[in-house]
């Protein structure tokens, strides 16, 4: 559980110091994803290096894809370590984007106010998800599968009712602070990369250095024992559902500001992509084990494959085949590594 996660700091425990570098690496859940990311990069560097994969534009293009998925994956990794799923985030992306677009275009709200409202909406949505899971004690897979459809249906229904359309465009995204925060570019790189890395750093810090982090590992690994030890498991889980919903809203904001509009179908399927990135990153589906850094590399692999295939010149239709194959390979590798890690611990 969490105890073995503590990285060797300056005053590292002597038990940790005795283990060799290899064993310490083995114990990290993200090892498979880091190795996979290097492999995928080398592969595309060889295959598509002369077609632009290694250029600044090529790098910016896969980092842009990886960053948006990564924002989701980092939040989802926390939730999955705590033993829960959130399948509704794709729908929340669509809904939050529409909240911003409708308030701004139909009701004339300034962009920043519409964004604040969308954040509030997403937090309420996440709160409801968490509340239903905690109250009914149904598996979160079922509860959020239901809210996946409910949020998507509400988004389509309400948007059509109010505007008669399913896409809203023409948002003026030149609002000063907003465009700097969400729409800027650093060189050629999208600002979403900064959000991605900042959130990953924050999540890693929470997981490894705070009490809440220990609660998360405990709630996923041994919920009853944690409850008996006084961990507020219910409040923790509701908070984590709010975190994933917020991450979905953040992605929606980035998309609305960068593309000047919203579509009721935005984010379809992203909930599964996020789970895949997290699993590739070494987090266990059963909870109690995993890392946010792994999710970062899972998303990176995802982005590199997604854009690398297009740059290589293979039809993007094949991407889903890769994705499925990668998922199986990642899980097999992770299982193998975990077995080795368990041996190394002894």
């Amino acid at each position: 559980m969490a105890v073995t996660e503590a990285p060797p700091g300056p005053q590292a425990d002597e038990r940790v110091r005795r283990a060799g570098l290899l064993r310490r690496l083995l114990a990290r859940p993200e090892l498979g994803a880091v190795a996979g990311a290097i492999l995928v990069w080398v592969f595309f560097a060889l295959v598509a290096g002369n077609r632009g994969f290694l250029t600044l534009d090529g790098t910016a293009s896969y980092l842009a894809v990886a960053s948006e998925l990564g924002i989701l994956a980092v939040a989802v990794s926390l939730l999955m370590i705590a033993g829960e799923f959130d399948l509704s985030i794709g729908s929340i992306i669509g809904a939050s984007g529409m909240v911003i677009a409708m308030l701004n275009i139909e009701y004339g709200w300034p962009l920043w106010a519409a964004i604040v409202m969308a954040i509030a909406f997403s937090l309420v949505a996440g709160f409801l998800n968490g509340l239903v899971v905690v109250w009914t004690r149904l598996p979160s897979f079922i509860v959020t599968l239901a809210s996946l459809f409910i949020f998507r249906g509400l988004t389509i229904g309400i948007t059509r009712l109010v505007t008669g359309r399913t896409q809203l465009g023409g948002i003026d995204t030149d609002a000063p602070v907003v465009s700097w925060l969400f729409g800027g570019e650093i060189g050629r790189f999208s600002v979403s990369i900064v959000w991605w890395l900042a959130l990953a750093a924050l999540a890693t810090w929470v997981l490894l250095r705070t009490r809440v982090g220990n609660w998360i590992f405990g709630a996923g690994g041994a919920p009853d024992a944690s409850r008996n030890l006084g961990v507020p498991v219910n409040r923790l889980k509701i908070g984590l559902f709010m975190t994933t919903a917020f991450s979905a809203c953040l992605v929606a904001i980035l998309q609305v500001v960068n593309f000047g509009g919203a579509d009721v179908l935005r984010g379809t399927g992203q909930e599964f992509q996020a789970i895949i990135a997290v699993v590739i990153g070494g987090t266990l589906l059963t909870g109690g084990y995993g890392s946010a850094i792994g999710a970062v590399f899972g998303a990176l692999i995802f982005g590199m494959v997604r854009q690398g295939i297009v740059i290589t010149g293979v039809n993007a239709d094949w991407f889903q085949v890769f994705l499925g194959a990668m998922l199986i390979v990642a899980v097999l590798v992770n299982n193998y590594i975990r077995k080795k890690a368990a041996e190394a611990k002894r």
Binding site: L22, G32, L39, G58, G261, V310, I311, N315, A316, F322
Partner: protein, 327 residues
């Protein structure tokens, strides 16, 4: 030990990637083999918003593939799985990173795609747009646009209707508020009015075909012509005419082709269908880009691929071509 551990996943990754790559390899070999005689040798990227499941876009893709073969160029066709502008712009970004000799795109949402398109133009890649984007291509720095403009197509439909002797027509609009469809009705109305006829716009809901049929039936009045904006509107309109025994007296025409519409034209139940010949929307951009790279010549303004008309006389031929994925 660590090397051994990485070997199997590495092998698995490589195998999967190779397996998917294999499909493309023979195609590229075929087109480069062809280029021995033809000019060719260019690397052109095509990114459209057409979903893989839509038969309309399969025809476009067939046009692209045929042009690639005829010009001896390597063409890479990409489209998002669903109608998704975010994903489409990512595909354009990836295509641009590959530094192609030319780029062909459709522009269904100029605002959402402008960033990616401008990146391509700034990188010095010649860009041609097709299908959608006739009113926005210029300001984005796109060389030329190939497609059918809705108003002009409606205009052409009205002229045909009037020439067939229709004086009092109904324009059946299944999506009032959809700008493209409204423009079709407006163009139709203008040319009909010019010819001395009159037009009434009838809004229907196609989600319920029975209701649509009833509404068309009730809305006909003393009209002697019905103009629908797509095969999905033509089917209930045809059913309404049949039910009311008006098949001979009221002339029916429609936008766009479907197997059902084509058969009805061959049977003489539908007067004509407007075809935007999307095969050319795939074929022409590749040819234009080839000439542009070679001699710097390119058409200016919008190149119209429609309206072309399918009537009883050519319906049989079109049905055959439709089976081959060309119409």
């Amino acid at each position: 030990m660590s090397r051994k551990r990485l070997f199997w996943p590495a092998l698995a990754f490589a195998l999967v990637l190779l397996a998917a790559g294999c499909d493309e390899a023979p195609k590229e070999a075929a087109s480069s083999g062809e280029s021995g005689g033809a000019q060719g040798g260019l690397n052109i990227a095509v990114v459209t918003h057409g979903q893989a499941s839509d038969p309309f876009w399969s025809v476009v893709k067939n046009g692209v593939d045929a042009a690639a073969k005829d010009t001896g160029n390597t063409v890479n066709y990409q489209a998002p799985q669903t109608f998704d502008m975010v994903e489409m712009s990512r595909l354009i970004d990836a295509a641009v990173a590959g530094k192609p000799d030319g780029l062909v795109i459709s522009i269904p949402d100029a605002k959402a795609l402008s960033g990616s398109i401008k990146k391509a133009v700034d990188a010095g890649i010649p860009v041609i747009s097709m299908n959608s984007g006739s009113d926005t291509y210029k300001e984005l720095g796109v060389l030329t646009h190939i497609g059918q403009t809705e108003f002009e197509a409606g205009l052409g439909g009205g002229e045909r209707m009037a020439a067939a002797g229709v004086k009092n027509a109904v324009c059946v609009n299944q999506e009032v508020g959809n700008a493209a469809l409204d423009l079709r009705c407006e163009g139709f109305t203008e040319s009909m009015t010019k010819a001395g006829g009159k037009v009434k716009v009838l809004a229907v809901n196609l989600a319920d075909p029975t209701d649509a049929q009833q509404r068309i039936s009730a809305g006909l009045g003393d009209a002697d012509g019905v103009f629908t904006l797509g095969p999905t509107g033509a089917t209930p309109a045809l059913a309404a005419l049949k039910a009311d025994n008006k098949l001979g007296q009221v002339k029916l025409a429609t936008f766009d082709l479907s197997p059902e519409v084509l058969q009805s034209i061959a049977d003489g139940e539908v007067l004509f269908a407007i075809d935007q010949q999307q095969y050319l929307q795939g074929y022409m951009p590749i040819v234009f880009l080839t000439q542009y790279k070679k001699y710097g010549v390119v058409p200016t303004g919008v190149v119209q691929t429609g309206p072309a008309f399918v009537e009883k006389a050519n319906a049989a031929q079109v049905i055959d071509l439709s089976k081959e994925g060309i119409r």
